[in-house]
Subunit: 376 residues, 5 copies
Amino acid sequence: MAALIHKPAIVQRLKKIARKRQHARQHVGAAPGTIFETPDASESDIRAQVCGTASVEPVAVSELGQIKQLQQQQATGSTLWIDIQGLADIQLIVAIGQHFNLHPMVIEDVINVGQRPKADIHDDDYVVVLMREPCGGPPFDSEQLAIVFGPDFVLTFQERHGDIFDPVRKRMLEGSRRLRESGAAYLGYTLIDAVIDGYFPILERYGDLTEAMEQRAIEDPAPDMINEIHLLKRELLEMRRALWSQREAINVLLRDDTALIPDALKIYLRDCADHSFQLLDLVESYREVAQGLVDLHLSSVSNRMNEIMKVLTVLATIFIPMTFIAGLYGMNFDASSPWNMPELKWRFGYLYCLGLMALSTIAMLIYFRRKGLIGK
Amino acid sequence: MAALIHKPAIVQRLKKIARKRQHARQHVGAAPGTIFETPDASESDIRAQVCGTASVEPVAVSELGQIKQLQQQQATGSTLWIDIQGLADIQLIVAIGQHFNLHPMVIEDVINVGQRPKADIHDDDYVVVLMREPCGGPPFDSEQLAIVFGPDFVLTFQERHGDIFDPVRKRMLEGSRRLRESGAAYLGYTLIDAVIDGYFPILERYGDLTEAMEQRAIEDPAPDMINEIHLLKRELLEMRRALWSQREAINVLLRDDTALIPDALKIYLRDCADHSFQLLDLVESYREVAQGLVDLHLSSVSNRMNEIMKVLTVLATIFIPMTFIAGLYGMNFDASSPWNMPELKWRFGYLYCLGLMALSTIAMLIYFRRKGLIGK
Amino acid sequence: MAALIHKPAIVQRLKKIARKRQHARQHVGAAPGTIFETPDASESDIRAQVCGTASVEPVAVSELGQIKQLQQQQATGSTLWIDIQGLADIQLIVAIGQHFNLHPMVIEDVINVGQRPKADIHDDDYVVVLMREPCGGPPFDSEQLAIVFGPDFVLTFQERHGDIFDPVRKRMLEGSRRLRESGAAYLGYTLIDAVIDGYFPILERYGDLTEAMEQRAIEDPAPDMINEIHLLKRELLEMRRALWSQREAINVLLRDDTALIPDALKIYLRDCADHSFQLLDLVESYREVAQGLVDLHLSSVSNRMNEIMKVLTVLATIFIPMTFIAGLYGMNFDASSPWNMPELKWRFGYLYCLGLMALSTIAMLIYFRRKGLIGK
Amino acid sequence: MAALIHKPAIVQRLKKIARKRQHARQHVGAAPGTIFETPDASESDIRAQVCGTASVEPVAVSELGQIKQLQQQQATGSTLWIDIQGLADIQLIVAIGQHFNLHPMVIEDVINVGQRPKADIHDDDYVVVLMREPCGGPPFDSEQLAIVFGPDFVLTFQERHGDIFDPVRKRMLEGSRRLRESGAAYLGYTLIDAVIDGYFPILERYGDLTEAMEQRAIEDPAPDMINEIHLLKRELLEMRRALWSQREAINVLLRDDTALIPDALKIYLRDCADHSFQLLDLVESYREVAQGLVDLHLSSVSNRMNEIMKVLTVLATIFIPMTFIAGLYGMNFDASSPWNMPELKWRFGYLYCLGLMALSTIAMLIYFRRKGLIGK
Amino acid sequence: MAALIHKPAIVQRLKKIARKRQHARQHVGAAPGTIFETPDASESDIRAQVCGTASVEPVAVSELGQIKQLQQQQATGSTLWIDIQGLADIQLIVAIGQHFNLHPMVIEDVINVGQRPKADIHDDDYVVVLMREPCGGPPFDSEQLAIVFGPDFVLTFQERHGDIFDPVRKRMLEGSRRLRESGAAYLGYTLIDAVIDGYFPILERYGDLTEAMEQRAIEDPAPDMINEIHLLKRELLEMRRALWSQREAINVLLRDDTALIPDALKIYLRDCADHSFQLLDLVESYREVAQGLVDLHLSSVSNRMNEIMKVLTVLATIFIPMTFIAGLYGMNFDASSPWNMPELKWRFGYLYCLGLMALSTIAMLIYFRRKGLIGK
């Protein structure tokens, strides 16, 4: 009947959700496009890789020159993928952004993490997709990920180091020609798809959690379960915020016309859109179930109260008449008057009195049984 | 006053709903279009049938060659219907898909069950409709069903073996010329219609269930009825998710232009759309009723509490004054002083005392009656 | 303080709502356009009438030939109105439908009652409007009514016999030239208008009912009033379902272009649309009020509990100290020790003891008064 | 702690809201465009006025001829404003309507009060705006007002006599050339604006009322405050219904193209639309606040219950052990056995017993303090 | 366990929200475009500044002539920014407005504060953006700010003196060429951006507040916490009203075509729109969390009640049987009969009696432990 998550842990997790939000905008009054160092930004780890007919291992990048060199060697039809993990090395990241002609506002969005997921199409130059990359859960955690792709390059900016793209890289090296040769847009799509797929196991776990809470709410409702329900609702709310905007972003890619996204890619993007809709739909059902849990909980609190009151009522009302009878025959009326408490002098007075008590108890028990207060 | 469904059974059914969801996406990081064997997939049972002027019995198919053969014999205007029940034989299913030029993403959707209902029109080549085929309820259960139709073929992929198409097949054999001769789109519509019709008896039963729960909530409210209400809400939520997307899918068929769906078919599809709207409308009303049941339940819990408290209050307050009086005359003040408890020495002291008690009881009863605590 | 409607009656009315729904679709797997005999269909009573310059009484129709004859005699500009009440004579009804070239799906919708209200425009051939004709309330009851009008005919199919069109027929006979001479579309509109007008008195009565329930919830709240509130919500929900679709149907008539509905008629239809919006708006406010009644009710239940508890608390806490004092001086300590209960031997010991009790009571009363538990 | 509005007054005001609705449609089955005498219609007071370069006082009108005369004298560019207050003189009103070529349905709407606010543009002939003119509140009261304006005339039909147009008339006479010379549409707009402005002070008062109720709910919650909250919600609901449709009506004027509304007027109408949106926005926030009051109220009811229970619990549990001890030493065991109640014979037995009681009290008080039941 | 904000302070803050609203419209019946002196308007402080290639300090303006002079000296491509703080000097403000050809309605909106945020594009002449400038919070406070920009000028009208534009002015002077040279629209955008950015720290603080309330609701729920939750909901509601309209206003700027807003600026405005969407999204989540707090609170109130009842029940039911036993042996039956209370004469009668009491206590404790009322 005890809570599974203790109050301090719940408070801790609620605080974590709140802390996430504070990254969003710290420098009020700064010029648009201004970039700030985030104090606790992860160290940058930049890897570049030309994806074409040949399978090429990614190389670590520490200066812009290396990228320029790779571009010169880049064959037509191949794609240069620069994966930036950790945003501490602002100077180099800005330099890369400017080298690929990104708009200052885009560079700002990419580095100042905490943006809302969105997709912007900058004519036929490049497409920017801001996403929330899931890092695990419950407790649900996410970080910002920006995917920028142009005619022959893909840039990815991850807030922290992560392994979400490892399966993609592995497939590429292991020989997926389609992945290597289909160009930047297809690579971009594959990365978006990987991010969205990353939500499924987390949602599965939230599904399990919700189900477990339903089970407990039904079988063994704890009085402070509402705290856990509240936490669940909060985390689902946070997830919904990420997924909602993400779905909008993918719809923008589907809807808007740009030479960067060929029609043949649209069927893949539509699949992505379906999946992000499915995720949102799942989160919405979990939210509805969590709201139903509140009703279950409040009802169980009331039922427990009823149980307590029933115990008190049954016991008290059985003993109250008996105690009264005992008090009655404890009175000190002068027995010299024949009218005063003659029962006291009866030979079987005590037994008569006990019988009276038993009778009142039986009457009470019958009454309670009829009222449904005791018995099956 | 006991619950109709016991807690373990409720938990069991809630778990079943949850398990359904886990099919959806198990292989994060896989390439798009990758197909996985579902461990517990039903064995494939494939039947092909040419529907034309002549009435032809379906033949079991175990290799692609048989299908090619049927196609060669197929007369103009006739339709080849391949019905695949159970998706275990992935190789053959993929081969069939590829033979009919289905996009790899379509083949993936068709085999990796747990997709959201949707309809996609691939130009004038083929139309894909993913649906949730109802398998019974309550408890509501459904499986994925994909209907693909092109100019002269219809493919159906059912997650498990089922008899939902038996009436259609029977009508075809028994001589419905319209069904045999109207082409693939009409056959496709007929199958979609059969699936949607399959929801009506289930919803009827949910209607009966909802009504029965209303009756119990009014006539004989059990303290743990909230669990059953929660289960009902959960199953309706699940049904709503299926029906909502299904309605959207049919609207896509109505809205989009493709040579595969002739105008004459639109009136039939509109009928389908009406029915799926009606289903959704019913589910939404049941959901609203179920939410109203929560109010009924919470009110009945409170009323029961009131009843318990009333019993305690009436009994306690009647006996409390009497017990006090008894206690009073049980005191041991030295009766030698004429001021000390002279009642004890009265000839009718005891009767006077009993009269006092009776008086207090009568006063209390009158008070309670006025307050409305007892009596009609 | 008793409920106005008893539980069995409430359950009865809830069941009636549920039963309505079961008409909708009984023959799963049947071919589209299939028509079934409804076991409890009302006997058909068919009346035909030519509305033109001359005022013609309706004639009873028992075979198609009579209708053909009327059509041959029909003057240009006049309208043939065939009013079918009761749908038992399926054969004749189907024959009439086919005679006027109705699509098989339309004939199905018209006969298989329980359809959702809708309007379909079949090019310039005919317009079909399915409605829910109100039969009275509370308890709200409705039946299906289909109005089909073409260039020179109006067909009406009523589920049961009813008098909703009597005022129209009366106006026609009494000389409304506009009604007789304005053609089929105007007659069709008049009939639609009559149906919508039929909702107003019912809603008026629901308004009165809602108001009466508000009054009772405020002045004399019964513990089981929630059941009546639930019933009210259910019936309003049912009405809303009918009215919502009906409003949509009329908007379709307003929006879509067809030669059958001349522009001059649009202002009348817009009036109809306004009224159906007004009805929906009323139902929605009643629903909101009914939801507010739930709050009123739950609050009154809690207040009653508070009242009960107050009685118990005040009485118990006044007597508890007095009973204690009585018990105290009922102890049997050996009075030979001067330290043991010297009060017992005081000359005014009893009076002192009674004074103590009075004091404790007064203290309690003052405390309760301050706390607001007793007094004004 | 008492309610500010007594139950009978609340019921009275709820009834008044309900009565308003019954005006809407009393003559089911009547032909469209039929006009009925409202039994309690206010006597008609008709004033006509030519607004042009010269400032002309309004003249009372008692027959159509007077209006015709005014029209003949009307200079180009000037506007004839006929203000009809009270709709009892149906004949003259219908005559005026027909004289200005109003459609029969418009005349019906104007006279049969209780219509939903709406705007209809009859090509370039005239514009009809039906509004709810606020008459005061709380309790909120409104009446129907129709404003019809054509190229050179404005007709206003008020349900009852009112002074809402007095400021406009005053400004006109006092020399606002713009008002006199800008034509009928500008005058029409000014009147619409006056009606919308009339809602602001009422909403201000509802704001004050809501605020006062919040204050009471926080500082001094009465047990039957829920009734007043319900009344507030009802009146706000009624106001919302009026304002919602009114906003839609003004949007119709803004959106639709008609030569009657010149572009230069659009900026004024947009201002009107802003204000009606603002009104609706205010009503919606008040409604949300009122819903929050329900939570405040239910919480205060529960808190009061807690307080009552705390008093009972603390008092009962302090005295129960003491009473037990007193009972214990009131037992009559035969003191001749040294094992039977030796305390009774102790020299300081009574003091020891009192000490025991004090001890149990102190223990209880410490326990309650720790539990937070008593003390700060 | 005490409230952090005391009731009077809560009432104070609720009143402040209400007072804000009363500014909106005080002069019912006035002509549109009429300007009124607000009694408590802040004194006007007007500063003009030419922003171009050279960096020019703002000069204080006290008459229109100064502005005209500045305009004559204004180089092509430079922007004249007139910042008006405090709206008391109506005459001068109106004169400035007229000098820049603002429509009378615009001048009215700018001076009569309390308008809903909105954006109006007056062809290619000027753009008006009405906003709510945040002044701090919690408690949230805001004032009206109007930004008007034309081809070569920007006018800002602030309700009260404020420093929200100081960072912009500083950046301009410190050398941001882009800010000085990009023209009026860019400057206008920068100011809008500054206002929107001003909301972020306030929302951050509301986030902290919400989080703190969650923590308290979980760890130390006070009985009157609902009042603080209500206050939080009210302030968030107020913020939502401002942010909702503001987002709409920025969308108008993005959507509508005007030569005043070049395409290159659209990416910046889109960033603004994103941020205002993000703000609204944050407010909406806080509102949802606050609603969840109500559930937490109500549950904690019920739990506290349960705790109180448990204490009462456990104590009462333990002592009730013991007290009964004590009463039993306090009866005065005549011991001369061997059947009357023989226990009293037993040698170990007293110990037997105490043992009975201990037994009943142990039995009760075991029962309570099993029921889960005491212990773990």
